[in-house]
Amino acid sequence: MSPTTAGILFLGSLVLALALVYRPLGDYMYRAYSGTGHLRGERWIYRLVGVKPDAEQRWGVYARSVLAFSVVSLLFLYGLQRLQDRLLLSLGMDPVKPDQAWNTAVSFVTNTNWQSYSGESTMGHLVQMTGLAVQNFVSAAVGMAVAIALVRGFARTRTDQLGNFWVDLTRGTVRILLPIAFVAALILVSGGVVQNFWNPADHTVATIAGGQQAITGGPVASQEVIKELGTNGGGFYNANSAHPFENATAWTNWLEIFLILLIPFALTRTFGRMVGQVRQGYAIAAVMGVLALASISLTMLFQGIHHGTVPTAVGAATEGTETRFGVLNSAVFAASTTLTSTGAVNSFHDSYTSLGGMMTLFNMMLGEVAPGGVGAGLYGMLVLAVITVFVAGLMVGRTPEYLGKKIGSREIKFASLYFLITPILVLVGTGVAMATDSGRAGMLNSGPHGLSEVLYAFTSASNNNGSAFAGLTVNTVFYDTALGLCMAFGRFLPIIFVLALAGSLARQGQTPASEGTLPTHRPQFVGMVAGVTVVLVALTFLPALALGPLAEGIH
């Protein structure tokens, strides 16, 4: 079987598997968020936190709850890292230095998982398990909760109640993420991913060259699975999913990509169920699917046919990829991880062909909406749909409506603000870094490739992706601070605008659809949203791309 056929089979089987679980998982999540009963464990949590699970919240209260929860998580995670030498299971590691601890805390709370440290040599088991892994669960559940609140805004009429954040957070964690993670972790372990409490000092082996190598084990599988499932991306090891203990074989690689794409796609079904029109969910899934397939295919193409001495000799751009995965499967992983807010890597994007690397960059610039992070992808795509509906709706001669809600000045204000945030952070961040010595000092490469590294770092942080273009030295005060700010603003400002939009939508009544209403479930609309997304992003970032990957890649 040729590598191309294998690559296509790999991708095809993924699409098939995702299609199979789409309905049952989407419907399950719909029931999880819409049900009125509470599990016993959930009641304990509500009592512990002191919330009334049946009281609903207005958008402002919902947003304050998100922020309060995140601030507390941030302080806890910061403290845990700073004090790790005095706590259990530290493996003798030093406390993490302040700027790095801030960066890491923000990174995990915002579901970014940008890592300016290498896990095996910085974090002890306690921080990994009770700090990072816990945030992997709850930061994902926060994203899903916000998405569900926005969907309620579309589904409900004449109310200011958007649900209860604490209930949505708990249910997302307890009913959705934990069960799937548990099962998938067992499967990963059976595939060779490690799960233990080894102290590396006890496990040293003699290398072929005669040296001694300490083997770091740890609770890897449990963290690995939520890293993918919650589109987090923060690896236990510095090598992330390229490390054999995190991602052992070609089929665990397949499973990890499957886990990355699982919830973001299935949430569109949940959305369709909640608004009472499953075809609207299919349409959003179709937009995501079209963009994702186009991006994955292009990445595979660029990685497969790039010119250059080595790629031509071996038939593909093998540099930076693991031979047990191969070039094309790595390309699928790279595209999936940047199309979502995951940022896990099983190959090194810095070593990709310039155009292949540009695709990973462009995927994030899309705002990570195809299918995007858990929850974040859905609300990002719905905001884009709102903007598309606005322009398209005017063209059919009516005040634009989406799902029976009028898109007036208030709605378009919040949608525009949402849309503005990440481009501002990326462009200003990159501009500042390129204009200052401390910014330029981090670059490994000179010329366009160096610029791509910086652009990639700010794009990744602002969009809460977390993958790195490697090469760039980010463990500096400048990058830890700047990227930390980008992550925080890039996460919470959009969330506030999304919730404000949800509040404004929920207050409206429902306009019944007629022949004169723009249908938002047909291929016509799917094509428009995809087109608007690509054109807007291309227009925003083309100048920067022209000086980075395009300058390097076009001959």
Partner: protein, 725 residues
């Protein structure tokens, strides 16, 4: 519309016959208008005026900056760019100035109608009083509640209601309609408008307007656009445009450090006019920004809004706010009065039902003869129907020499003829036609029988919603009933097609009638409306509107009577007839000067066209950016990275000419689209999907392709200019 003004056009407004296709179009743009508006456009360069349009304000700031740069370091390239940036702003102002100019012409003619009028105010007048002391005051001094007297030949000094008398009034100053109208106290024809002229008789009018707020004052303000406020959709669109502008501003500004870095990495590359060690030159940076921000739609947005109001005025509809025009496009439900809107105002003969022993032809002949002296529309319709259906020649009353005509009167409720065929002065044959009871009585008086079958037919026709007229005759003393004429409502031609169009646009039509449900259903089916409200009282109408609105639907209706006022006020689009009462006019948010209820359909189309024009030009504007990037990005950096020349798909001759071509195209496209902005894009009623497909193809795809061609063509010319290589 440049030449046509309201008062100057003596031609009566278009007859309300529905036009096929329902295409909405506006007046054409007179090229001279562009020149005439140029001074206004230059005046609008004042930043205090321009700040209302942030996109163009940014262009102006950029133009000022490039001017300073061009002065500091003069070059052909710098000056050419500067000139075209200024032209961009002026062209944008021109669009608005032209749109406003059209309104000004109308306002001037209205002002002429508002000449200084002296009013004769009655002091201490009470109803029924024959004489009261009149004092002369200037019209502007009149207050609400003042009573004035107006004689034939005088101008009515202000808006009000006739409280005594009846007069024919020439309202051409307002409506352009030269035929006089009757205004009388009481009822629904009591409202008079200031500035109109009493032609005959004398009326006493109670002033209902506040000083300076007359109908004409409001019309002037509206057509001039002085009171124009941004409409909800316009505000929303402005927000989106502002967001896009901010993004492009940042994309341009942050390009600078990237460019400096890139240039520093390639020290061997010589400086160019676009790029040196200090980064991209200010002039080029401004050019890039201006090309990217949505200048096309930013320039035309206000002109589109003004032109939308103007299109309403051209159809003799006064919209009290732009919001109302916009709401018209959103309407889900149209409430249409049956009489005058769906059916012709009068019932017409539709069938002859003879009694036993009478042929239809004989009945038709008798009906026609007996109706010849009946000048009511119903009577005329009997004559015409008999002629059309039975080939009976229309006879004129003078033709039959021995005939005694009995005209219709309200007392007898009959018309007819006595024929003296033998010429002995004694009528041998008499015919009567009229209300069933009246004719039956007449036959009985003449000693004839009234068969029970007659009342069956009469009741049957009544039950079906028709009006029965009975025809009877006496021949040499023996009387009998011949049969019945069935009069019924006649649906206007083309209404079914119009309602089909409405349905395709997703608009539900509801017929409102005072008829019983049976009749209402028959007419509703015939006309093709979606629903009907029978035996409707004004409060039923109001309840229906509220019910529709609770379901999230927008409702439009027309009305004229005072009892329509609550419903007009409740409806999202309430069109009051100009013939209606002032209460109705006050309650609605539009006034139709032609008082043509069918116009509601056109109003909806104009509203839609306004929104479509905005959406289409926004799409076009954004789609244009793709080509501009392909012109400017390679031009900027091809020196550093020769590979980027691949992006120069238009093969523009030099970096300088590429940038200038993009700027010139960006400016010229504004002028090229002014006619479209004023006229509105082509609109045919159809489903949303079809509309979107078409507009996407024309303005989306067209918006991507057009600038590639346009920029290339401009480059072919300007490459020969100095400073282009």
């Amino acid at each position: 519309m440049t030449a046509q003004t309201l008062s100057a056009s003596p031609a009566p407004a278009q007859t309300p016959t529905p036009r096929g296709g329902g295409k909405v179009s506006g007046g054409l743009l007179d090229p001279g208008q562009l020149l005439r508006s140029l001074p206004d456009a230059v005046r609008k360069l004042d930043p205090r005026t321009l700040w209302r349009n942030p996109v163009m304000l940014i262009v102006e700031v950029g133009a000022v900056w490039t001017t300073m740069l061009a002065i500091a370091r003069p070059s052909w390239f710098g000056w050419l760019i500067t000139v075209w940036l200024w032209l961009t702003v002026i062209f944008a102002n021109l669009a608005e100035a032209v749109a406003e100019g059209r309104g000004k012409a109308q306002a001037d003619s209205l002002r002429r109608a508002k000449t200084d009028v002296t009013a004769r105010r009655l002091v201490g007048w009470t109803a029924g009083q024959a004489e009261a002391r009149a004092e002369r005051v200037g019209a502007p001094e009149l207050r609400q509640g003042d009573i004035v007297v107006v004689d034939a030949g005088e101008i009515i000094p202000g808006d009000g209601d006739v409280v005594e008398g009846i007069a024919s009034v020439d309202e051409s100053a307002i409506t352009g309609e030269s035929a006089p109208v009757i205004r009388e106290s009481g009822g629904d024809r009591s409202a008079v408008t200031g500035g109109t002229k009493v032609l005959s008789d004398r009326i006493i009018v109670k002033i209902t307007q506040k000083p300076g707020q007359s109908f004409i004052d409001r019309m002037i303000a509206l057509v001039e656009g002085s009171s124009r406020q941004k409409t909800p959709n316009e505000i929303a669109l402005n927000i989106l445009l502002a967001a896009l502008t901010i993004i492009f501003l940042l994309a341009t500004a942050t390009l600078q450090p990237l460019a400096i870095y890139a240039k520093a990495g390639n020290p061997g590359v010589p400086d160019s006019p676009a790029l040196d060690a200090h980064g991209v030159s200010g002039i080029v940076l401004v050019s890039l920004l201006v090309c990217l921000i949505p200048t096309t739609i930013g320039a035309l947005l206000s002109a589109i809004g003004i032109a939308g109001m103007d299109r309403m005025v051209q159809r003799n509809v006064l919209a009290m706010s732009g919001r109302a025009v916009e709401a018209a496009g959103d309407v889900n439900t149209l409430l249409l009065d049956k009489t005058g809107t769906i059916t012709l105002g009068n019932r017409q003969a539709a069938e002859f039902v003879p009694l036993d022993g009478v042929t239809e032809a004989a009945l038709a002949s008798a009906a026609q003869l007996s109706s010849l002296a009946d000048e009511t529309p119903e009577g005329r319709s009997v004559v015409v129907f008999a002629k059309q259906s039975y080939g009976l020649r229309e006879r004129t009353p003078g033709e039959l020499t021995h005939a005694m005509w009995v005209p219709f009167s309200a007392q007898t409720r009959m018309s007819g003829v006595d024929l003296d065929e033998s010429g002995d002065g004694r009528p041998g044959r008499s015919l009567r036609k009229g209300a069933a009871g009246a004719v039956a009585d007449w036959v009985r008086e003449q000693g004839g029988p009234v068969p029970p079958r007659l009342s069956e037919i009469v009741d049957g026709i009544s039950a079906s919603g028709g009006t029965p007229l009975v025809v009877g005759e006496t021949v040499d003393g023996s009387a009998r009933v011949l049969g019945v004429i069935h009069l019924k409502d006649v649906v206007k031609q083309g209404m079914r097609e119009r309602f089909d169009e409405m349905r395709a646009m997703g608009i539900r039509t509801v017929m409102i009638t005072g008829d019983n449900p049976l009749t209402a259903k028959a007419i509703a089916d015939e006309a093709g409306v979606d629903d009907y409200l029978a035996e409707a009282k004004p409060e039923d109408k109001l309840a229906l509107i509220k019910k529709e609105q609770q379901g999230g639907r927008l409702v439009a209706m027309t009305g004229d009577g005072t009892n329509d006022a609550p419903a007009l006020a409740q409806a999202d689009v309430g069109v009051a007839m100009n013939t209606g009462t002032s209460a109705a006019k006050e309650a609605g948010n539009m006034v139709d000067l032609d008082s043509d209820p069918t116009k509601l359909i056109e109003i909806v189309q104009i509203g839609k066209q306004l929104l479509i024009t905005r959406g289409a030009l926004t799409t076009f504007s954004i789609a244009n950016d793709v080509a501009k990037y392909f012109a400017i990005i390679p031009a900027l950096f091809v020196g550093l990275f020769p590979g980027l020349d691949t992006l120069n798909v238009m093969r523009l001759s030099s970096p300088q000419s590429a940038i200038l071509s993009a700027v010139v195209f960006n400016a010229l496209i504004i002028v090229a689209l002014i006619p479209l902005a004023l006229r509105g894009v082509r609109y045919r009623p159809s489903s949303a999907s079809k509309l979107l497909s078409r507009n996407l193809a024309v303005y989306g795809l067209g918006g991507i392709v057009t600038p590639f061609i346009g920029i290339k063509l401009i480059d072919l010319f300007i490459q020969f200019l100095p400073g282009m290589s």
